[in-house]
Amino acid sequence: MKYRTAGTSTSIRAGGRLAGYYWQRTRRNKLAIAGLAFIIFLIFLALFGPFFTMDPTEVNFDEKNLPPIGFSIEKSIYDINTDEFTTTIIRGTWKHPLGTDNKGRDLLAMIVSGARISLLVGLIATGMAIILGTIIGVLSAYSGGWVDNALMRFTDIMMTFPFFLLLVLIVFIFGHSLIFIVLAIGLTGWTGTARLIRSESLSLRTREFVTAARAIGASDRRVIFRHLIPNVMSLIIVITTLSIPGVIMAEAALSFIGLGDPTWTSWGIILSAGQHTLDTAWWIAVGPGIMLFLTVLAFNFLGDGLRDAFDPKSKI
């Protein structure tokens, strides 16, 4: 018996209404909105920024170690002929608003270029991890039996590895080009997601609305797609938003310790160089770090706001 597919059109519209409802709840959280605004700004920066900035790889030894605009630094030059130190004050210029590094590369350009890396890795690697985790989680919950057992034991084993240590090992063994870094993160960061999705799927399966749907003759596929996936969707969105900062940090950390991809300017690489010139050019370490911090903060605010918005028990 075919039952009326009043469900199809209604649920798409219902989906739209539901999304609107959740959006309303999220909107009331000012921090989450601020986070979202920053992320949008960052995306624009990554996409269009490089057109407006200098070439980040352009080396110019004449202009090395310039401070940012508004700051000045003293430089002592020893003149062999006169056996004297002359101290000049070097000021920042608008040409290099955030200063330059020890090879004269424009820091602003480098930071903007770094935004690309962070977002790229952040989105792709997280996407991989989430998809992998969801597949494993759902598969585990639905198969039950030994498949569930085996998958969960495997998840337990992978979860025991401290995330960063495992990452370091993999990147060390397989090489640190950007592709491998993304793959490494994607193939190791799925464990938390798998666990959460599995437990959510298990609990949803036994909920009454599933029984009710089955009772009116819905097929398994329909049950999964019309009822279960939308309910897990909100969880997936929250997990994704909250996973991105960890991934971005992991990539930056890898670059910081030298396991990043040297052909791209990642924030981590700039930071690492900055640490060695703290006394002569402190701004090199400050810029990328602030960006990294703000990016992570923004995603955390947004993710937390989304989580509260989706939780039916929290009163917003």
């Binding site: 921090l31 034991r153 495997f154 337990d156 084993i157 992978m158 979860m159 025991t160 590895f161 401290p162 995330f163 960063f164 240590l165 495992l166 370091v168 090992l169 993999i170 060390f172 063994i173 397989f174 090489g175 900062p245 940090m249 930056a252 950390a253 910081f256 310790i257 030298g258 396991l259 930071l271 900055g274 640490q275 703290l278 006394d279 402190w282 370490a285 400050v286 990328p288 770090g289 990294l292 911090f293 992570v296 903060l297 955390n300 605010f301 937390d304």
Partner: protein, 325 residues
């Protein structure tokens, strides 16, 4: 209701842990062998620079490391060696890996221990306070601060602390002095910035977990009962609420310790130059000295496994609601 259930539970969990440990060792083995360059190649890179004959060296290495044997044999030798304490030979430092571990673990240990204690005490106290003062400005401020804390990249925080306190203000040295005796005051002073770096991320986490655990319990019925008995507020919060909150808190803190702290400690050691296992591994990476990198990863993972086991058993023992008959 005897205590045999606890013993049985411990045995069950031990067996399980052994299985997980086996899985860990196996995966690590697979990773190393599946990697694009064989261990011989990496050593090779070091040697060809010093001009020795390539083919001879390769053959010698393969024999020495048993790389010419079939994979299964290698696997069993690997497991056997690990269990016997032979964790390989570090070519960059000309020492058995085990030696290296023995001399350097103490630095990691002191860093992690001090940071954990610092973070736990501060974090739990702030978390309790934040929960009790929910909805006040202080709570909002503290919650915001905890967001900041977990978002700060800890390696950047370390660099910034060095910038401010070592470079600009000169209070601390910029690099860890390895000649200092471990139990000296100077050593403690040198650890202030590293502990603050590693600890900050941890504190923020502890604040959030404690606050959430406390909030879960603050509105429960037994709190009203405790007040109705005339108990002073500090007993109500400190004894009644906290003991209920503490149980899940212990689990979360311990599990967190494993997954996040070790990664953080690795980076902190590198930033500050503390010669712990993280630093050792870092140096090994650039010398292509794979046994050390593998060994440090393994230690970290097996420690996490142990911590999880201990936490699980402790929690089961402590929570009166869990009893398997």
């Amino acid at each position: 209701m005897g205590k045999t259930w606890l013993r049985d539970y411990i045995i069950k969990r031990l067996i399980y842990s052994v299985i997980i440990a086996w899985g860990i060792l196996t995966i690590t083995f697979v990773l190393v062998r599946v990697g694009p360059s064989s261990p011989a190649d990496k050593y090779l890179a070091n040697l060809t620079a010093s001009g020795q004959d390539v083919a001879e060296v390769v053959a010698a290495i393969e024999a020495r490391y048993g790389l010419d044997k079939p994979l299964w044999e290698q696997y069993f030798e690997y497991i056997g060696n690990l269990l016997r304490g032979n964790w390989g030979w570090s070519f960059s430092t000309s020492m058995p890996v085990m030696e290296l571990i023995k001399t350097h673990w103490i630095y990691s240990f002191q860093l992690i221990l001090l940071s954990s204690i610092f973070a736990a005490i501060l974090g739990i106290l702030i978390g309790i306070y934040s929960a009790v003062k929910q909805y006040t400005k202080t709570d909002y401020a503290l919650t915001f601060m905890s967001f900041v804390g977990i978002s700060l990249p800890n390696f950047w925080l370390g660099v910034m602390l060095i910038l401010v306190f070592s470079v600009k203000m000169g209070i601390f040295k910029t690099y860890y002095d390895t000649t200092l005796p471990l139990f000296s005051l100077e050593n403690l002073k040198a650890l202030v910035l590293p502990v603050m770096t590693l600890g900050t991320g941890m504190v923020a986490g502890y604040v959030r977990y404690t606050r959430s655990a406390m909030l879960d319990n603050l509105r429960k019925g037994f709190v009203t009962t405790a007040r109705a008995k005339g108990l002073p507020e500090h007993t109500v919060i400190g004894k009644h609420v906290f003991r209920n909150a503490m149980l899940p808190l212990i689990t979360i803190i311990m599990f967190d310790l494993g997954s996040i702290v070790f990664g953080g400690a690795y980076l902190t050691e590198i930033v500050f130059g503390i010669p712990g296992l993280g630093q050792v591994s870092f140096n090994a990476i650039f010398a292509n000295d794979y046994p050390i990198v593998v060994a440090v990863t393994l230690i970290g993972t097996l420690l996490v496994l142990m911590i999880n086991l201990v936490t699980d058993i402790t929690y089961t023992y402590l929570d009166p609601r869990i009893r398997y008959d």
